[in-house]
Symmetry: D2
Subunit: 259 residues, 4 copies
Amino acid sequence: MKVLLVGDIVGKPGRNAFVQVVRQLKEDGRVDFVIANGENAAAGRGPAPDIANALLSGGADVVTLGDHAWDSKEMVAGIDMEDRIIRPANFSKGAPGRGWVRVDTPEGPLVVMQLICRVFMQPNYDCPFQMADRMLKGELGGDKVIFVDFHGEASSERMAMGRFLDGRVSAVFGTHTHCQTSDETVFPKGTAYITDLGMTGPKDSILGREVEPVLAKFLTGVPHKFDVAKGDPTLEGAIVDVDMKTGKASSIERIRISV
Amino acid sequence: MKVLLVGDIVGKPGRNAFVQVVRQLKEDGRVDFVIANGENAAAGRGPAPDIANALLSGGADVVTLGDHAWDSKEMVAGIDMEDRIIRPANFSKGAPGRGWVRVDTPEGPLVVMQLICRVFMQPNYDCPFQMADRMLKGELGGDKVIFVDFHGEASSERMAMGRFLDGRVSAVFGTHTHCQTSDETVFPKGTAYITDLGMTGPKDSILGREVEPVLAKFLTGVPHKFDVAKGDPTLEGAIVDVDMKTGKASSIERIRISV
Amino acid sequence: MKVLLVGDIVGKPGRNAFVQVVRQLKEDGRVDFVIANGENAAAGRGPAPDIANALLSGGADVVTLGDHAWDSKEMVAGIDMEDRIIRPANFSKGAPGRGWVRVDTPEGPLVVMQLICRVFMQPNYDCPFQMADRMLKGELGGDKVIFVDFHGEASSERMAMGRFLDGRVSAVFGTHTHCQTSDETVFPKGTAYITDLGMTGPKDSILGREVEPVLAKFLTGVPHKFDVAKGDPTLEGAIVDVDMKTGKASSIERIRISV
Amino acid sequence: MKVLLVGDIVGKPGRNAFVQVVRQLKEDGRVDFVIANGENAAAGRGPAPDIANALLSGGADVVTLGDHAWDSKEMVAGIDMEDRIIRPANFSKGAPGRGWVRVDTPEGPLVVMQLICRVFMQPNYDCPFQMADRMLKGELGGDKVIFVDFHGEASSERMAMGRFLDGRVSAVFGTHTHCQTSDETVFPKGTAYITDLGMTGPKDSILGREVEPVLAKFLTGVPHKFDVAKGDPTLEGAIVDVDMKTGKASSIERIRISV
Ligand SMILES: [Fe+2]
Ligand SMILES: [Fe+2]
Ligand SMILES: [Fe+2]
Ligand SMILES: [Fe+2]
Ligand SMILES: [Fe+2]
Ligand SMILES: [Fe+2]
Ligand SMILES: [Fe+2]
Ligand SMILES: [Fe+2]
């Protein structure tokens, strides 16, 4: 099965690019299943459920979030309504929502799990390594096909998770930095890996935002409104080919498609 | 001259406690000049100019700010209207406002300067040590009486500034943590020092905020509204006795006065 | 029972001050039980077991550690040899050592627990709030007299723990900043609290280190050797009077004793 | 002129790969000038001058450093001996060494400058944006061909510098994360850009280190010795084609060459 992994969708330009590119990829038979990071889908911030649901309607099978999960109060209240919108599994024990979902596909079950990094991130996440280990030995003990969105900043932590889970999951892919890495690979035991998928949104920008206010913030320290940019809407991500019997990935292909 | 240093004023309970206690201290002849940290004066956040001006009317001779300086857009636009509202001098070169003010008192000029720490703080401040050095050799080269609000988190950095400026300024006092330290002292060369003045606001709280939402945030990671608490409004700070001829401090006395 | 809580012991001057002051306090009948933070006992760094054991011989009943727990490889290898040397309970699951100890006293059992903060600290600690809750409902469910060393940086997190555990433990006291706070109090439900005990070591210093190298580091960014200072060795901490039947604290008294 | 930019060289495997690949690229006429990041050249840590000099002998025209600049005391003492070993220009004013060098080439002068990021980095660097601006208006006011190594963590800050300097320098390239990005581009006004060059060292690793100790550290929090790995030594970087008359870049090509 060909699984499309989509980097952080930013604002309306990102949502439009997402819908358009995914439709085309499906029509071309290049993609069977879509996992999309939606943590910046609402004007660059965390979406309310309606916007996340629009991504599901627009072609995503599962939407993952991230540190922006609770930007919208509606998401705090509503995330439990929809299984296919997930937030990091190692969020605090008391947080709403869930960290993984098992989706039935014509070729069998496929699990999507999200974890969040701790290095350079907020100080209230449980250990993603211990959490992954516990889940894989527990509730996911019978699953073969597992895709892990590891959301975070540091390359060391993300690479470490890729190595840690090699042979235990189908893919580990990073989100959050909005900057695609060129290190896509299939590790020796069959786990596809890439440090960061990149961003789905206006490339003529700084990580999806207008250039001038971001520069002004760096130069003055004074807050500026960071509007979502418009130019060159693009989908970035990767396509993983996974064997639904064994859960092994046979390939990972990095993509960047402008609309 | 007896100079009152007032720890971060939090919200309306803090502003009321400030006005009431300062009036009494002045009537009792215990205080001649008042320096107040106002970075949380507006419902726990950075004030607009009108609220900072109300502190000036209410007894402050100078209001200092901090990392919350630009919470209010009105302050960004309006800080340059009032010399006696200052923000850290080591803010980025392009920031509005100024980092020090020289006030005429009946006994001569008194300078108040603010600096901000870098350890555990936002990553866009210039070096406070180099900045202090440059100012003391430059525009403040002729001043004897200089009070330095060093706003920040780490005890090491604040203590280091106290030692660095010993003999060059009248006092170095910390603000920002809302937690008064017990280490007030006059250093060997005549500089009064305390790592943190504490907070002026409701003590029955977590740093001025209601207890329950702060606990809920720590337990769940989900954002909560942190309303300013109400119970036990208190002024915390210190009184420094300074020789206006030499600029040396002869004493520093820590205070905590409930209203 | 009168329990002495001792702030971070720094190097040889700190160890000497500790032994001398504790002997005197015991002779004077002011102290029955001693909990000492030893995370900087070895030349300002984490001790090997022999130095921690020397603190036990020198008057401590329990030694707590902190983020410096593993500075010495010998401690990694040896901590499991001695129950009364504890490290934070919310260290990673795979870490050696343990996070609490129950000590028999003539008046009954007394538990000492250590937790470590997450704000501004290393990114590999479990949630101290969830951990405390789990332990108090679990293995410590039958204990009345419990002392909690909450080791860390931010005043907000430490104050939050004090409020969180009010009525559930005898005392919550902070260590790590080497800077004593003046906010000692007994909370409404009987838990003694202080944000930071301060430091046991040479006060004529920056947090126990020689002044000049620390200033040079701040001014140049170039690493310098931070030798332990010598002047004015002092013990800082607090004495808590606890009812061994109920576990309630009746008083907390801040202390600072130079030798 | 074709300028090779080389990502962080890690340990002996990295140094060997560097020498071998550069020799071949020069023989093939693909490269005329070489800028190499050497901050991890000594067993994964900052090199002493002899190792940095060996990179110069081995094919580098300029060696840049980074946050690891002062790992070796010999570098602190010796950096001023060799102009072509540079450290970030926005290091503290009091630091040894210099932040840029102008090298004469057969086709005219070429400047290499290094800056270091502040987001998620140590808290003692001056503003890289203000520093770049000042230098380009000052000592480099007459230079056309300028290559900027912007060493750091956050994609936002690095992308912002690329946009900020577009048209003012020949190239802005990132180092430090050891993870090559796929976003190489020439900006509209002629500045080549890539967020991170990647690493020159053993790819069968976590950022150049053996996998197992890094995983053990993440799982337990206990320090482990991070030896440099051995497998699959590889050079990562980019080749920029620059017009020596105008300073404009006409292309940037990402490279990854195993030996
Ligand atoms: Fe994110
Ligand atoms: Fe994002
Ligand atoms: Fe504050
Ligand atoms: Fe502040
Ligand atoms: Fe300590
Ligand atoms: Fe500590
Ligand atoms: Fe680096
Ligand atoms: Fe590096």
